[in-house]
Amino acid sequence: MIKVEFLGPIGKVPLEMEAATLADVSAKLKEDSTLTQWLDKCAVALNDTMVNDLSTVLKDGDRVSILPPVCGG
């Protein structure tokens, strides 16, 4: 089981799911219509390190963070 958390303005409670890779996470999140407006704009971190590859392998207890567009300063 892995945990997916949604940061900043997305305003969605964390999800737990079975997923072997980030591609599995993508497939599951695409089924959620409340995320349609966000996924194309969001970056992804795995255990607080930014990731860029859908084939990234996940293990039990991993934490995936979904980061929407930013504007610091």
């Binding site: 940061l7 900043g8 303005p9 980030l22 996470v25 993508s26 999140l29 695409k30 996924l39 194309d40 704009k41 969001c42 970056a43 992804v44 971190a45 607080d48 390190t49 930014m50 990731v51 860029n52 590859d53 859908l54 963070s65 979904i66 980061l67 929407p68 567009p69 930013v70 504007c71 610091g72 300063g73």
Partner: protein
């Protein structure tokens, strides 16, 4: 890296950073102050920060600065920051001015693009995500 609840005490922060480096033999110290402007009838801006990723982003910049013989510093506000107060300060120390001038430009621009901070307008006490001024981070769209 320093995070504060509410507006920054810019003079205290810049003065302290200057004192800390007083004997470090840096020839250049370039501070940057971000101040909340009164526009679009806002009372304040408000900020969410994801600290673990911000810390890693900042640590990477410390390494880049170190390779140039320089030091980068930053402080940012969390929560509400009223107009005409400061939400963000940063600075670069370097032996000579050219490195510091170029580094402050690159550091502040990458901060705007990739620091995991979310901005909201505050109007009539309501927090509204500043979607039109926000930028997708590097690598955005991976899960689409």
């Amino acid at each position: 890296m320093e995070l504060y609840d509410g507006p920054l005490d810019t003079k205290e922060i810049f003065g302290r950073w200057l004192d800390e480096q007083a004997e470090s033999n840096y020839g250049a110290y370039i501070p940057f102050v971000g101040t909340i402007r009164a526009e679009d009838d806002i009372e304040a801006l408000s900020f969410d920060i994801y600290e673990p990723v911000l810390q890693k982003w900042f640590d990477d910049w410390q390494e880049k600065a170190k390779a140039l013989g320089a030091v980068v510093k930053m402080a940012h506000a969390k929560g509400d920051v009223p107009v005409h107060t400061s939400s963000y300060v940063s600075a670069v120390f370097s032996p000579k001015r050219r490195v510091a001038l170029e580094l402050i430009d690159a550091f502040v621009e990458d901060f705007k693009a990739n620091a995991p901070i979310w901005k909201y307008d505050v109007r009539n006490g309501e927090r509204i995500y500043a979607a039109d001024r926000s930028t997708p981070m590097d690598g955005a769209g991976l899960l689409q």
